[in-house]
Structure formats: structure tokens, C-alpha cells
Assembly symmetry: C2
Homo-oligomer: 223 residues x 2
């Protein structure tokens, strides 16, 4: 589904250049559940942003279903982001004057083939908080609204930047089950950044990012 060759990313801060990604090669197959692990500052969000067309690599090639994204124009990138990718950010970006339900419905209304808003609220354990505004929700509840908003879009590729960081284990497992259900039943491809070893065990493959390169890739025999 998504292929990267020699992906590099350099940031310029004042006069200092920092090369964060130093030549990543990867191929992610449709229906896969991938986890990316790495230390704070190792480049995970940078990589996820490139995968999701939110950012372009400094050099290297990126292909989605064989179509090049690395030199695509903004119209093509926008279409890719809007139609094919769901994104769960490290910051939730909920709309403060819409309720939990309305935050999710907003996305459903403009998606081509959305899931049911009520079903997503249930999968996220939020049916009792559907009428709450973001300021009336706990941190973990807000995070789950953000995840629900990405899920309801029913994207082919779901990119999640630490989707369970604000959640306790039990709630985190509930959320992950919803994501796995999506991946297995609907052949959706999911890439998750996490620090949680339990989540990593659920992945088919785990990419370890260190010093701008994939230090290793582990294949899990089962999940």
C-alpha cells in the first residue's frame, strides 16, 4: 500500500540543520498493523507526517498504491489526505464548541464511506459522554473522541500518533481492540506510534527508529 525509499528529512533552525530522518526504506502491505517505536525526538512524528502527506521528505521517494507522493503537488496531496488517510495526532485538535458526537459527525458528513457515528462512540466507550463539549471531558475521553473522529472516516490508511498515551491500560485495550477490528475485518492498514510495549505486541511488525534510521524490524509470529 505504502512504500518509502531513502526517505530523508532535514529541519533548518536558524542556521543549524538537523537531519532527523537519514534514509528510511519501508514497504507496508494493505491490511497490516504496524507499530513504530523510538525515543522521544527520534523522528517518529516526522515520519508519520510524511506518510500521511502532511509534510514532504527533504529527499527520497514515497508511493501510495504505486502513485508517487514525494513530488506530488498540493492538489494531489490534499486529495490523498482527505480521501485515504485518517490521522490521530499527538494533540487532539477537537473543535471546542462542538460536542463529542458533533466532532465525530462533522467528519462523517464529509467522508465518502463513513462508519456509524454511534457505533464509533460505543467502540470508544464514550456513549455516555456524547453530549459533552471538549472542556467537559477528561484527557483520555478527549483522546478517544480524536480517535473516533479518525475512525469514522473509514480511511484505507490510519496513522496514529500515540493514540493511547492518555489512557489507562483497560481503556487503552478497549480502544486498540476497536482499531484491530477495523484492521482485520475491513483490511484497513494501521500504523501506530506508541511507547507501550503491550501495543507493540499486537502489531504484525514493529519498526524501531533510532538516530534517523530503522535500527531493526521485528515480525510478530502471532498476533
Amino acid at each position: 500500500l505504502l512504500r518509502g525509499k531513502g526517505i530523508r528529512k532535514t529541519y533548518l533552525t536558524g542556521e543549524v540543520q538537523i537531519e532527523v530522518l537519514k534514509g528510511l526504506d519501508f514497504e507496508i502491505v494493505e491490511g497490516e498493523f504496524i507499530v513504530i517505536l523510538g525515543q522521544s525526538g527520534s523522528g517518529k512524528t516526522t515520519l508519520l507526517n510524511i506518510m500521511g502527506g502532511m509534510s514532504t521528505p527533504t529527499s527520497g521517494e514515497l508511493y501510495y498504491r504505486g502513485e508517487p507522493l514525494h513530488n506530488a503537488d498540493e492538489v494531489k496531496l490534499n486529495a490523498y489526505r482527505r480521501s485515504s488517510v485518517g490521522f490521530v495526532f499527538q494533540h487532539y485538535n477537537l473543535i471546542p464548541n462542538l460536542t463529542a458526537y458533533e466532532n465525530i459527525k462533522l467528519v462523517a458528513d464529509i467522508a465518502e464511506n463513513p462508519l456509524s457515528v454511534n457505533e464509533v462512540l460505543q467502540d470508544m466507550g464514550l456513549e455516555d459522554w456524547a453530549g459533552h463539549f471538549p472542556s467537559q471531558l477528561s484527557g483520555g475521553q478527549q483522546q478517544r473522541v480524536a480517535i473516533g473522529r479518525a475512525l469514522v472516516k473509514n480511511p484505507d490508511l490510519l496513522l496514529c500518533d500515540e493514540p493511547t498515551g492518555a489512557l489507562d491500560s483497560k481503556t487503552g485495550i478497549q480502544v486498540l481492540r476497536a482499531l484491530l477490528k477495523l484492521s482485520r475485518e475491513n483490511r484497513k492498514t494501521i500504523v501506530i506510534i506508541t511507547h507501550n510495549i503491550e501495543i507493540a505486541k499486537m502489531a504484525q511488525r514493529v519498526f524501531y527508529l533510532k538516530d534517523g534510521l530503522f535500527e531493526k524490524v521485528e515480525v510478530n509470529d502471532y498476533p
Copy 2:
């Protein structure tokens, strides 16, 4: 240092009342390192906000060094928040047009007895990113700036709402060591909300919050 008797908190949403805290009693001793555990939505942030004078209980009593806070006026609460309490929020609230260094220095400049900004940046492993703006920092780096901002104030009571949620284990341990150093060497009192069992093991006591009450309190033989 901090004592609570029968702390209750009820939220009103539309016409629905939700009693989140149902009568909490606690006494936190100066120099203690406390961890609060509990499921998403169990009331941890609500409790921490009350402890920090950010919110008042619906009923119950709260004392800081014997002085009542539960019925204190805004002038007194403001003085308490400004002089005695450091807070690390679930959302970092960094000032976007100030660098990491400047975000921390801003607080040091108005604190009565601040720590060294450079020393705090080092304890947070951020000396190489001091000149970066928040938009140029990773999620975990932003979190550490927020922690540094609370630490530099050198408060008697440090309240941390999931301070290592966005951090990998190694970085999280580095940050926690800085907090423990503060607690042990300077007799600072620290209360941390976390989902991380490793952090809980470092505490002197762990409060388990469930259904608006402390289900149990564990005492760790060592740390």
C-alpha cells in the same frame, strides 16, 4: 502539608449532575512522593485541580499548612497557586512565540526562589533544544519543557498530570529522576497522576481512585 476531608465534586452538564468525587479523605506529608492511579474518567484531574487551587470542591474541606482553602477567596487562592504550587498539565500550554529556554525563564523571572534555568534544561535533557520554538519540538520535548517550567519555580507542592505520557521509558526515567531529586534533596512534595506502573513503584504511597473514592492506598516499603 495538604489535607482533605470529605472532598466532593459534582459537575452540572445541561440538567444532568455527575458526582465525580464522592468524599475523599487524604493527608499528604511534606516531602512525600505520591502517585494517583485510576481509569480514564475516574476523577484524577478533577482531584489534582482541587489540590492545586485551580478548582474548588463542591463540598468538603481542604487545608494547606493548616490554612483552609475550600472557602478561601480568589485572592488567597491566587497567592497559593502562584507561590506554593507548580503544575504540569495534561496539555502543555507552552507559549508558541517563546523558545524552550524562554518558556522556562519566564516562570523563573517571577518566581520567588527559582532553580537555574540551564540546570533545569539539562535535567530535562533539553540543552540542545533550548533555542527551539514549541512548533519545532517533538511532543515529548514539549512535555519536558512544560515539566521544566513547573520545576524551575521550585514550588513546595508540585502537581503533575501524567508528566511522562508522551515519553519513552528511558526519557521518562530521566525526567522522573529529576523530580525525585527535587523531592528528596529539597523536601518538595510531589503528587503525580500516571498510568505507568514503573512510576507508581517509585512513589512512597499510591492512591487508587475508583468510582469517586479511594479504593485503596498502597505504601511502598522502599523507595
